[in-house]
Symmetry: C2
Subunit: 350 residues, 2 copies
DNA sequence: AATTAGCACTCTATAAGATGCAGTGCTAAC
DNA sequence: GTTAGCACTGCATCTTATAGAGTGCTAATT
């Protein structure tokens, strides 16, 4: 995909420009580089190289007499070939351990806390999706009678997470019938994943349909989507840290400010971008830079995400910020927290 | 509390100033009023009256040669004595009916949708708290075995709402003991409210403590807070509509922008203010204007809230915006939606 | 006695210059 | 291939000028 060949000197200049721009947020000039790093080249030579890099589409100009600014392609090259990996420092690690205690919270709250931590450490927006139940393996179904006409369906999945759904039934159901249905459902569905159950539910239980259980089964058929459908991710996705991200100089004007608000309130854009590149080997960190997202609204941002796992199910967490972000550091943070979450949640008897 | 006596003429001028300021967001001058409303007074006379109103603390000046601006006291007088009640128009009513269908959602989602609607109609921030379980009357407790060492406690309250908590037990519990405990708990606790249960739990079940149920009972004692404690309101409170509120001219600069973000991300300020005036007859609309909140961070905002009820429990919903808001209209919206929610939720067999 | 016209004054917002600066691109010299 | 030199460009910032909206006070008017 990225078959650009650069000389060592070009790489060095490109790296300096991007590094410098990430730190200062100002277009980087030739003189600046020549002086700051004693690179053994005059500003004029650096200008020539910069011009070449611009021809290659790696750098750009805001206007004639401004310094150079990385393009999306420039960032991409930097991330793929130039950047050296970073590590979290002691202070950051301490902050995480001090604040993240997965076993003390219920899942939803854990997500909020994790997101807040990730955001604080990176000084960007953080987001985290609720784990997807699509691949969840059903351990068992239990039916609890709430009142004469309402039952609660309790689904336990292999990882130990529990999902409950309340069903309305327009008829009195005797206790023994309820237990019969419970047993039937368990026999037919236990061990399967939700996706599979959705596809083959009617088929699997159709013989139970012509028995005394019919009225209850009907309710289950009707509510199947509600019970086994995946959760609506963007309702459960947490995005936090607006107060961090708006301090960056790119959000000085009203327009960009508004764009942050939109990003946070309509989670669809972010969730969609996070979901999109699912075909990319899902264990790795995914990095999406500006226009690569193919979403106009996201063209000023970058997104770094990674999967985390809770037994049989998984979600994603990530960081969103202006393209001018410290990729190395943020990747380290995302990876660290995703892995921490995965390990801790595995140890936890959910 | 507000024993200011004004002449009709003063009232009229004050009303005009506030009305005008609410619409235009610019300090209102004497000439402006004299021309716009043919009030039969020259600018000079109006200036005299304005000066009087300023002495009374109802109006203020941003600087010497600017027009007048309402003070908190001015708004308060307006809201209490000057404003005439407004009604929602057909378009707004239609919008609400088209979007709010309480019986199709689970509670948490319903809150989100309600908040979004309220925000759209008023063009301000909307917020809504999860109903407080403090006064909830316990209907019954059910214990569901999730695995050998985990049980789910299902609490059904009178209104039909259900709360579930998962407990970890460090010992194998036989089925019959579980059922015995369930029965015991129901006998002792059903019909009481959560607050009462919290206070008297150990007392009420202490005789069950020296029986074969001891190990299970111990877990209940230890987890009592988790089970019967009130939900942490600010975790469940929904605030939405930032994209509406930031369009108002008062949020032109960075500082005010940041203040909105803080308000949304740290819900504590809002939740605290909403909770504070609970002693005021809780059925009525509550209006808090700027400094009346006694919170520095809230001094530029007003808050209009009302209670809504789901059977035995209740929450609050409200609108937050700059003090320069259309009080009449927003009160109408808050009242209407709170009542709609209450009625609809009553009809709903939860 | 209340109202109004007139006027000097104040503060702000906006536009228009003026100036400096950072940086480029090109050419010619090294 | 590299660098010095130079003309040029666009932006940011500061200053200054100007217009406008509004006040407060005083004196005239009703």
């Amino acid at each position: 995909m990225n078959n650009i060949e650069l000389t060592d000197r070009e790489k060095s200049i490109l790296r300096h420009v991007i590094r410098q721009f990430i730190v200062t947020a100002n277009p980087v000039g030739s003189r600046n580089i020549s002086k700051r790093y004693n690179i053994g080249l005059s500003p004029a030579s650096i200008r020539n190289i910069m011009a070449d890099l611009e021809d290659l589409g790696l750098l750009g100009h805001p206007h004639t007499s401004a310094g150079r600014v990385p393009t999306d392609r420039g960032y991409r090259f930097y991330v793929d070939s130039l950047m050296e990996p970073a590590k979290l420092n002691k202070k950051e690690l301490d902050y995480i351990t001090a604040n993240l205690e997965p076993d003390t919270y219920e899942t939803e709250n854990l997500l909020k806390i994790t997101s807040a931590i990730l955001s604080t450490i990176t000084n960007q927006l953080a987001c985290i999706t609720y784990p997807k139940f699509d691949n969840a393996l059903l351990n068992k179904i239990q039916l609890v009678r709430l009142s004469s006409q309402r039952i609660m369906v309790v689904l336990t999945i292999q990882s130990g997470l529990v999902k409950t759904i309340t069903l309305e039934i327009n008829a009195e159901i005797e206790d023994d019938k309820l237990m019969g249905v419970e047993q039937l459902l368990n026999e037919r569905l236990a061990g399967l994943n939700f996706q599979e159950i959705r596809k083959t539910f009617s088929e699997r239980i159709k013989d139970g349909f012509n028995t005394e259980y019919k009225p209850v089964m009907r309710v289950f058929i009707d509510s199947m989507d509600k019970i086994f459908d995946d959760i609506k991710i963007n309702e459960k996705t947490v995005i936090s840290g607006a107060k961090n991200i708006i301090k960056h100089p790119e959000f000085g004007d009203h327009e960009h400010f508004q764009s942050v608000i939109e990003l946070i309130e309509d989670k669809d854009v972010i969730v969609h971008i996070m979901e999109k590149n699912k075909d990319i080997s899902s264990k790795d960190v995914s990095i999406i830079i500006g226009g690569e997202s193919e979403d106009e609204k996201f063209s000023d941002y970058s997104l770094i995400t990674k999967e985390y796992n809770i037994g049989d199910i998984n979600g994603k967490l990530g960081v969103i910020g202006p393209k001018r972000m410290e990729y190395g550091k943020i990747i380290a943070a995302v990876v660290y927290i995703a892995e921490l979450l995965t390990i801790e949640l595995k140890n936890q008897k959910l």
